[in-house]
Amino acid sequence: MHKLLVIMPAYNEAESIGNIIPAVKKNLPSADILVVNDGSKDATAAIARRLGALVTDLPYNMGIGAAMQTGYSYAALNNYDIAVQVDADGQHPPDQIPFLIQPIMEQKADMAIGSRFLGNGNYRPSLARNIGIRIFSMLLSAITSQRLTDTTSGFRAVNKGVIKFFAKNYPEDYPEVEAIVLLRKARFNIIEVSVKMEARIGGKSSITPLHAVYYMIKVLLAVLIDILKKVER
């Protein structure tokens, strides 16, 4: 039996977290849920505790990368076999998690990324977002020499090896894209899985249109630096 942890970083997600935790429990009764409360000012942590999730309160708002890494450290310290990243804002439907876990359990890959663009996805991004997503996909496909369609997707499952790696090395600002590069440099295998995603229930995207260009440049720079970085497994 695999020990499974669902890591849910949350910053002011009181609106949506009350729906998402029961939905995860319904779909994965045997999994533990860890909400990493990244300095929320609303009732996020209280709601999560009431619904029976494990809650880790970060002492101040540390950002998505540090919050996610906290989840991975917890998973490593507690010897979990598989960890799944799920957004607390409701855009990652819990009924899709089994599709992510399956290739990990079958040892087909070290990390499975839920892609909105593979197969019969129904997601149609705006033009600007689409261009950004295409540029990242081309760049990351070239770096990893494998076809990747949804590099910014934060809907992911990883095995024990990656849990330990992420507990030691996890990028900070916009970690999804960078994490792929680091994993690849450490010779882990990545696979994409077709999933359906939903429009978020509450809160707002960490990327507003105004920040889109800034985000792109910053991630591109970070990826270039990651290519130069020394990565130890």
């Binding site: 809650v55 880790t56 101040y60 906290t70």
Partner: protein
């Protein structure tokens, strides 16, 4: 002795005395003071030893020797600021690790307390 030389000597001595005093009073750790000490000593030597300054200036094609002092001071400042950036990066990494560990151990403690509570309850019955 030119007045510029006197000004340079006074400034270099001032830096040196301030740095030594800060170390003495425990307000500046030695590892962060080394670059400051080195820059103060080098500037002092170059200000007092006019012949050396003139020779280096001639060898490097600097027309006005005292401006070599500015160059040396500027390079030391660059080095000191770079050193700070490295230290800040390492401090922020340590701060992150520390905060994460505290958060995780608080969660462990909470879980442990909950389970401990349950067991005591059971014993009571």
């Amino acid at each position: 002795m030119h007045s510029i030389q006197i000004v340079a000597i006074i400034i270099s001595l001032g830096i040196l005395i301030s740095v030594v005093d800060l170390i003495r009073r425990g307000m500046l750790k030695e590892q962060y003071a080394i670059l400051w000490l080195a820059s103060a000593v080098v500037l002092l030597v170059l200000s007092m030893w006019r012949g050396l300054l003139d020779n280096i200036a001639r060898a490097t094609g600097i027309a006005y020797p005292p401006s070599l002092l500015f160059l040396v001071a500027f390079l030391f400042l660059l080095l000191i600021v770079l050193h700070f950036s490295v230290i800040i990066s390492s401090l922020s990494e340590k701060n992150k690790k520390l905060s994460q560990e505290i958060a995780i151990f608080k969660t462990f403690f909470e879980e442990h307390k909950k389970e401990g509570g349950k067991n005591e309850h059971r014993k009571g019955f």
